[in-house]
Symmetry: C2
Subunit: 300 residues, 2 copies
């Protein structure tokens, strides 16, 4: 099994271990009920991007799940920085997780369990690789509905991904790169690990309902304001999506990524648009701005 | 940590281990995307109940998730029987699981992963203990919607439980035993790990939509037919639920369990009803019938 593991390190049971040794009990409710939350921050050229915002959201998720994180912000920062340092990675994808833990004697009551914190660092991953930027993503528009907020609060970052995985598998089968899911009103929701932005003649629009409030999504909203581009959070219908002047996805796993095709058909002229380029450039510039990023060394 | 584990045994990585040693990698998509399916069969006085039906459903779930189980039915039976034998338990709750596994180098594509099978046996668990049978369950009727079939196929037995766990926590906080969730049409759906049956003047009704097709649910449908009681699969409105002559829950974790209170208020006269008693008795009688059950020894 060892050869399946990427380069990286993990922190679990109060110590740094190799990825291949980072394991949880199969009786942890984080596995048996997906009763867990997580957040992913990235490191670029040795600097965490938006670290405090990710930790804020992580803390909020643990509170919403009624298992507030007992590890301090500073301690979490040190754990994450240690994972990255041990991994030797300059560009990294760093995940922090809290599970409900194990209930003594397998009791059903989640309140009996002791929450468990863990983290790991792996190489930075791209939903769209930089060398494929000009080609952009070809997304498959599925009819699968993202799990609605009336069932699971999307502001709790969670591992309930069967809908997203089914979308991915459908997209791959048909030869597309990834998938977009709908919300319960048949409007555009999100894809596996990314938010969606549509550019039209009035500015930029991103769905306001039933989506994860991605940190990259929030970043893009701020960057658009800095660039004096009008940006709105409101529903995107399927028709609006297809008629977009430009379309892009945002994720910690790759940043700002142009979507140039829907179901294999060009979005507008099928090229990367100007708004996408401007926001993409500013996004990466901010990675070296101390207001937006912090070096691993400063934390350790 | 050792003292949190119940008595029991597990099978993982091709061998029988102690429960405390049964662990999966934190990079398994079964954990990080809850991309997994499972089934639970029980053993009563050394006999598996409805084993083939549970394995049938498990195989179907793995096919629907596009990761068909590569372990044969006979091999699974032997693994489960070995877990029970090693555990020394006469009455046991036996879970089989298949996860998507790990993608080499943490690639996003689920098709790159090798599915992983595991199983474990723990002491038989009761949602309602036999000594509390006459009191019955007091359920809290939540307004949480069970994850709908348009997002996740409920026929794939899955670990997407945040909605159910939230319901449980809400119920516990208000002093009730467990919770009932609604479906997206505001009809009755199911509770954490159990299906619901309502008795009215026409017979017995159980929801037909958005619920797990529980093996105990299917069993009760067959038993009602054997008892010549009319039974229907159709929507149950909140009003119908509250006006039930009798109400009961079904689960592998406890069998047929009377619900005598909703939000603390009596269902009918608040006593266990006759249909519930008849079905409960026949359910347990079948545990010694070779048409319904098989002994561990026969399998080993």
């Amino acid at each position: 099994m060892k050869d399946v593991f990427p380069k990286g390190s993990a922190w679990i049971d109060n110590k740094i271990v190799k990825l291949s040794e980072a394991k949880i009990s199969i009786l942890d409710w984080g596995f048996l009920r997906s009763d867990a939350t997580y957040d992913v921050v990235h490191v670029w050229k040795g600097r965490f991007f938006q670290l405090d915002n990710h930790i804020d959201r992580f803390f909020n998720s643990t509170i919403k799940l009624k298992m507030p994180c007992s590890i301090s912000r500073n301690k979490i920062k040190k754990i994450l920085a240690q994972c990255v340092k041990e991994s030797g990675l300059e560009n990294s994808y760093v995940e922090m997780i809290q599970t409900r833990g194990i209930s003594p004697n397998f009791e059903r009551d989640p309140r009996k369990a002791t929450p468990k914190f863990m983290a790991f660092a792996v190489p930075f991953g791209w939903i769209l690789k930089p060398e494929d930027f000009e080609n952009g993503l070809d997304v498959f528009l599925t009819d699968i509905k993202r799990i609605p907020p009336s069932s699971v609060d999307p502001k709790i970052k969670n591992y309930h991904w069967i809908d997203l995985v089914t979308g991915m598998l459908n997209a791959y089968e048909k030869g597309h790169h990834t998938a977009i899911l709908l919300d319960e009103n048949n409007n555009v929701s999100e894809g596996p690990g990314f938010n969606i932005f549509s550019v039209n003649d009035d500015g930029i629009v991103t769905p306001d309902h039933g989506v994860l409030e991605g940190i990259t999504r929030q970043t893009v909203i701020k960057l658009a304001e800095e660039l004096k581009i009008k940006i709105y959070e409101k529903p995107i219908t399927i028709e609006m999506l297809k008629l977009s002047n430009e379309l892009f996805a945002t994720s910690t796993a790759g940043g700002v990524m142009p979507i140039t095709k829907i179901n294999g058909k060009n979005v507008s002229n099928g090229k990367v648009g100007n708004y996408t380029r401007k926001i993409h450039k500013l996004y990466w510039d901010k990675h070296f701005d101390p207001l937006w990023s912090v070096s691993i060394k400063e934390i350790l």
